[in-house]
Structures are given as structure tokens and as C-alpha cells.
């Protein structure tokens, strides 16, 4: 039987997503077992789940190693993979925002220094405003960049804003709302359309779409 490969993001979001697949009628009981395995199969249903780093889900799907997967909109906007975005799962909700020190005042006479993990999103956002920026690509602890004078602002994911406030920062502008999306490889969508559509429908019933 031909298998449908599903890439799930490791972590809390992935577990929520898996529960949705289970409710949609696509369970794989072995995934609940305590072990370090990364690949789980339900041969009867012809599905195979695997856990990958959340930022890698889109790559697995775009390159066809996974037929479908669940990725955050932040990753999709940043890497712009050539995939179908079949459903907004309405979970993992947060927003991509610009944040700065509480006393920040934008001086339009100078180039704005922007620290971020999401260079592409930041570039697009400021290009639309025709604002000259200098991107400082960081891989973590973005919040300390303005405090240490490395950047004027940061572009990052904001969920509750607690980390920002605790570091004397505040969100000053929302770029885009973020949530988890069901994505599909474009070729797989053609050849495994029936099962992918069944999954999409089963998941959409849970998000009320």
C-alpha cells in the first residue's frame, strides 16, 4: 500500500496537531508510546508520521520527503516554500511584530537597525514602507539586541508579550498574525489527492472552516 508521509513539528504544537489528526480519523497509536523513535506508521490507514524540527517541516514537504505537514505561517513567510497551504488550523496563534525599548523613538534620518531571525519577513515589511534598514540576523535571544545597543528594534514572534515586557521592551507594530497551517507538496497533492482531501476535511471540521 502506498503510504502518505506526514511531517509534524516536534514539541507542544506537534502534539496538539497529532491529536487533531487522531480526531479526524487518522490515528497512529504507536506515536503515544514513550520512546525516542521519530517515525511512526499506521499501515492499515497507509499513513506515516514523523517528527521534525518545526522550521524544517516546510523543506521536507517542498522537496517531497513528506507529502503533507504542519508548519507555522512565520516559517512559510520566511522561507516562501513552493507548497499548497490547504488549511489554517487556528492553533499556535501568535503574531509577528516589531518591538523596541519602551522609550524608543524612530529617527527617520538614520538607517533603522533591525535584529531578527526572520530576515525575509523584516525586509519585505520595511521595503513596503520604503524604510532604509540594516538587518542583523541573529539565531536566538533577539530581545537583548536593543538593550545592548546592537539594534534599534527587533522583529520577532510575540505570543503574550511577557518576555518583551520583562526585558523592558514593548511591541510597537504588528506585521502579520501567525498560526499553524496544513501544507502539501504540490506533486503529492495531484497523485495522493483523495487521502489528502480527506485529511483536510477531517481537520477543517475541528477548526470550524
Amino acid at each position: 500500500m502506498e503510504m502518505l508521509d506526514i511531517a509534524l513539528p516536534k514539541g507542544r504544537l506537534g502534539e496538539k496537531v497529532y491529536s487533531m489528526f487522531e480526531k479526524a480519523g487518522f490515528p497512529c497509536p504507536s506515536i503515544r508510546e514513550e520512546n525516542r523513535k521519530l517515525i511512526f506508521e499506521n499501515e492499515e490507514l497507509g499513513i506515516r508520521f514523523f517528527w521534525v524540527k518545526p522550521s524544517d517541516v516546510a523543506i521536507y514537504v517542498e522537496r517531497g520527503a513528506a507529502d503533507i505537514g504542519v508548519a507555522g505561517k512565520d516559517i512559510l513567510l520566511e522561507y516562501e516554500p513552493d507548497v499548497y497551504e490547504l488549511l489554517d488550523l487556528n492553533i499556535g496563534k501568535c503574531r509577528m511584530a516589531v518591538a523596541a525599548k519602551k522609550d524608543f523613538r524612530d529617527n527617520v534620518n538614520t538607517t533603522l537597525r533591525v535584529a531578527t531571525k526572520f530576515s525575509n519577513i523584516a525586509e519585505h515589511f520595511y521595503a513596503e514602507k520604503c524604510r532604509d534598514i540594516d538587518i542583523i540576523h541573529l539565531n536566538g535571544s533577539i530581545e537583548i539586541a536593543p538593550i545592548l545597543g546592537l539594534s534599534d528594534v527587533i522583529v520577532d514572534i510575540v505570543e503574550t508579550g511577557k518576555t518583551l515586557y520583562e526585558n523592558n521592551l514593548e511591541p510597537i507594530e504588528t506585521i502579520v498574525p501567525i498560526s499553524a497551517r496544513l501544507i502539501s507538496n504540490k506533486a503529492s497533492y495531484q497523485f495522493k489527492n483523495e487521502i489528502i482531501e480527506k485529511i483536510r476535511l477531517g481537520l477543517s471540521e475541528q477548526v470550524g472552516v
Partner: protein
């Protein structure tokens, strides 16, 4: 000269088959130069699949580019001759930036272009050749069709501002209804407009259902005319016996400032991305100062590199160990090779070489 097909790689085999398919229908090969004027590409940068162009200054100071595309060069060399249609095919390497590694890649591309007084006859012929191209590579393929004219005229019907059309098309190409929703509410588009745009993201299992649905959204004379042409082309392919191979999917969209009529893509099972892409590009012709029409497609042969690739058990059939007379050794090698074996002549067995048998010339027997 006889060429053994078993030594050809899948992309080389496909290139041979496609060249013969196109030349048998009277398409002439177009050979382009490796370097072209940089200005040609930079003027039409948005038409290119990748945004990077390798450029350099020639000895006489001219800025040249290592070809990133073939179509622009073909149009550049074409002339408007009323009543005349130029039929060309090509098999060329192009140089583009790989999206994932951000480094330049050489990509082998075969395709054809039909330029001039292009009518329904030529469009049908190109569609047929596109389907036949897929069929010649694998029987397990899907040919996806849409029509830029329908999308554009429906956008016109709802007075959708040109500034948001690009964003809407991008959302349609990802089948992202969530994003279409967001764009429509941000720009105060009516519920009816939104519902109509949703039609372009639909997954149609049956052709009849797709045609019915498209007909219901084509209300103006312009959109009705585009719909009429599209349904004719679909019927042509159905009547030609490809009903089970074609799929109507309007998420297949191209840049509307270059493309005009029918658009299509081809997928082959086992290859994770589309392997064939094409369409009618009359608007690009206008941008390049031509009054005639054009349609064509490209087959991305590099995608075939790993297609149906079987892991070989052995690197060679026979390792022939030389000791003694050189002429005897090479004569033996030739005779073994003409019997259908692959033979590696060497003084000692190379490390990691996988072989079926070892033969010593002096012993002339299995070791």
C-alpha cells in the same frame, strides 16, 4: 554510430525522445549562444523563474549574461511576419540561482516555442506535444490546466485593483483561502468577489464539475470569450483520449503581466515538483515590441536526474588484471566488452570497486 540506451541517464534519454518528438512535427532546433546581452534579461527580470543573473563584462566593454532563460532569446530573435508561425525547439543549459542553497546551478531544459500568428490550431498542437512529452517520460503523469484570460477578466469584472492582484494570485497559487479572506477584508472586496476567487483554489475531481463551476463565474463578454476558448481546449484534450490525465486547477497562475491565455503544468509520479511548465505569453511579446502571439513550454530535465534511479549492484562486470603483454590485455578487454560486459582494465583491483568477476589475462579464467 550505435548508442546503447542503457548507458544514457534518464535526463539524456528524455532529451533524445523529446527532440525526436518535436522535430517529427516540424519544429526546428534553436541553438542559442552561451552569452547574451544582460539588458535583455534585466528588462524582463520578472519573467525569469529565478532572480539571479550571472553577468560579466566582455572584452569590448559590453555587459553580458550567462543565459538564465531561453524564451526571451527566442523572442528577441523573432520577427513579426503576418500569417507566419515559427516553430522552434531547444535543448539548452540555463544558469539560475537555486532557491534553497542560494548558489548558481546549471539546469538542462528542453522545450518548444510557437511564435507568430498563433491560433487555436497551434495552441492545440502545443498542448498535445506537452502531454506527449510527459507521456514519453512516464505513463503516470498529470497535466494541469488553467487560463490566465479567465482569471484576469474575472478580476476586471469585480474591479479588483491592480495593486492587490499580485497578492491575491500568490494566495490562489498556494490555495490559501485564509489569506484570500484576509486580503479581501483588508481591501473591502465584496463577499461575492471573495466567493468567486475561491473558485480558483478549488480541487476539482471531475472535469465537468470544473467547467460548470468556471462557467458560473464568467459573467462579462471578455470572461465568457476566455471561458469559451478554455472549454474548447479542454474538450480537445478529452477527445484526444487524455480525460484521465488532465486536471483543471486554477491555482496554477503565472505573472499576468506576461502571460495571457492557457497555462499548464505537468507532474510525474515520483518527482516532487512540476517537471513541465508553459503557457501562452502574448503580453510578453507586446512588452518586447512584437505584435504577434506566442505559446510554449519547458521540460526541466534536471528533475529527472534521480527518477527511477536503480542502485547498481556492481560498478563493472569484470576486472581484468593486466600482467604481461599490453596488446593481449586490451584485445581481451575488447572481446569481453563486445560480448556485453563492462570491463575495467587495471594492474591491481582498486579499493571500493564493486565487481562481479576478476579475470587475469595470463590465466584467461575466473579467479
Amino acid at each position: 554510430m550505435n548508442i546503447e540506451s542503457k548507458i544514457l541517464k534518464p535526463d539524456e534519454k528524455a532529451a533524445c525522445v523529446l527532440r525526436s518528438l518535436y522535430s517529427n512535427l516540424g519544429y526546428c532546433q534553436y541553438k542559442m549562444s552561451k552569452f547574451e546581452e544582460y539588458a535583455l534579461y534585466i528588462r524582463n527580470k520578472d519573467f525569469l523563474v529565478s532572480d539571479g543573473i550571472i553577468s560579466f563584462t566582455d572584452t569590448n566593454g559590453r555587459l553580458l549574461a550567462l543565459k538564465p532563460d531561453v524564451t526571451l532569446s527566442i523572442i528577441n530573435n523573432s520577427k513579426d511576419v503576418p500569417g507566419h508561425v515559427q516553430k522552434l525547439y531547444y535543448d539548452e543549459n540555463v544558469y539560475r540561482i537555486s532557491k534553497s542553497s542560494r548558489s548558481y546551478k546549471e539546469i538542462r531544459q528542453t522545450g518548444l516555442e510557437c511564435i507568430g500568428d498563433v491560433g487555436l490550431l497551434e495552441i492545440c498542437e502545443v498542448l498535445l506535444l506537452a502531454v506527449r512529452s510527459l507521456e514519453s517520460i512516464s505513463g503516470n503523469y498529470i497535466f494541469e490546466l488553467s487560463h490566465e484570460g479567465i482569471v484576469e477578466s474575472v478580476f476586471d469584472d469585480y474591479d479588483i485593483d491592480t495593486s492587490i492582484r499580485g497578492k491575491l494570485l500568490s494566495a490562489v497559487s498556494r490555495k490559501s483561502c485564509a489569506e484570500i479572506d484576509a486580503i479581501c477584508s483588508e481591501n473591502n472586496l465584496s463577499e461575492k468577489a471573495k466567493e468567486t476567487i475561491y473558485v480558483f483554489t478549488e480541487n476539482y475531481v471531475s472535469i465537468d464539475r470544473a467547467i460548470e463551476s468556471l462557467e458560473s463565474i464568467c459573467l462579462s463578454d471578455k470572461s465568457k470569450a476566455s471561458f469559451k476558448e478554455f472549454s474548447f481546449l479542454v474538450s480537445f484534450l478529452v477527445d484526444a483520449g487524455f480525460e484521465n490525465k488532465i486536471k483543471i486547477d486554477f491555482s496554477l497562475t503565472n505573472d499576468m503581466s506576461y502571460y495571457s491565455g492557457v497555462a499548464f503544468k505537468g507532474y510525474i509520479k515520483g518527482i516532487p515538483a512540476s517537471i513541465l511548465s508553459g503557457g501562452q505569453y502574448d503580453k510578453l511579446m507586446r512588452k518586447m515590441g512584437r505584435s504577434s502571439g506566442a505559446i510554449g513550454f519547458a521540460v526541466y530535465l534536471d528533475a529527472l536526474e534521480r527518477f527511477n534511479l536503480e542502485e547498481k549492484e556492481f560498478d563493472v562486470d569484470i576486472v581484468l588484471l593486466h600482467s604481461g603483454n599490453i596488446a593481449d590485455t586490451l584485445k581481451t578487454a575488447e572481446s569481453l566488452s563486445s560480448a556485453g560486459n563492462t570491463v575495467r582494465v587495471c594492474n591491481e583491483i582498486p579499493k571500493n570497486l564493486r565487481y562481479r568477476h576478476v579475470l587475469n589475462v595470463t590465466q584467461k579464467g575466473d579467479n
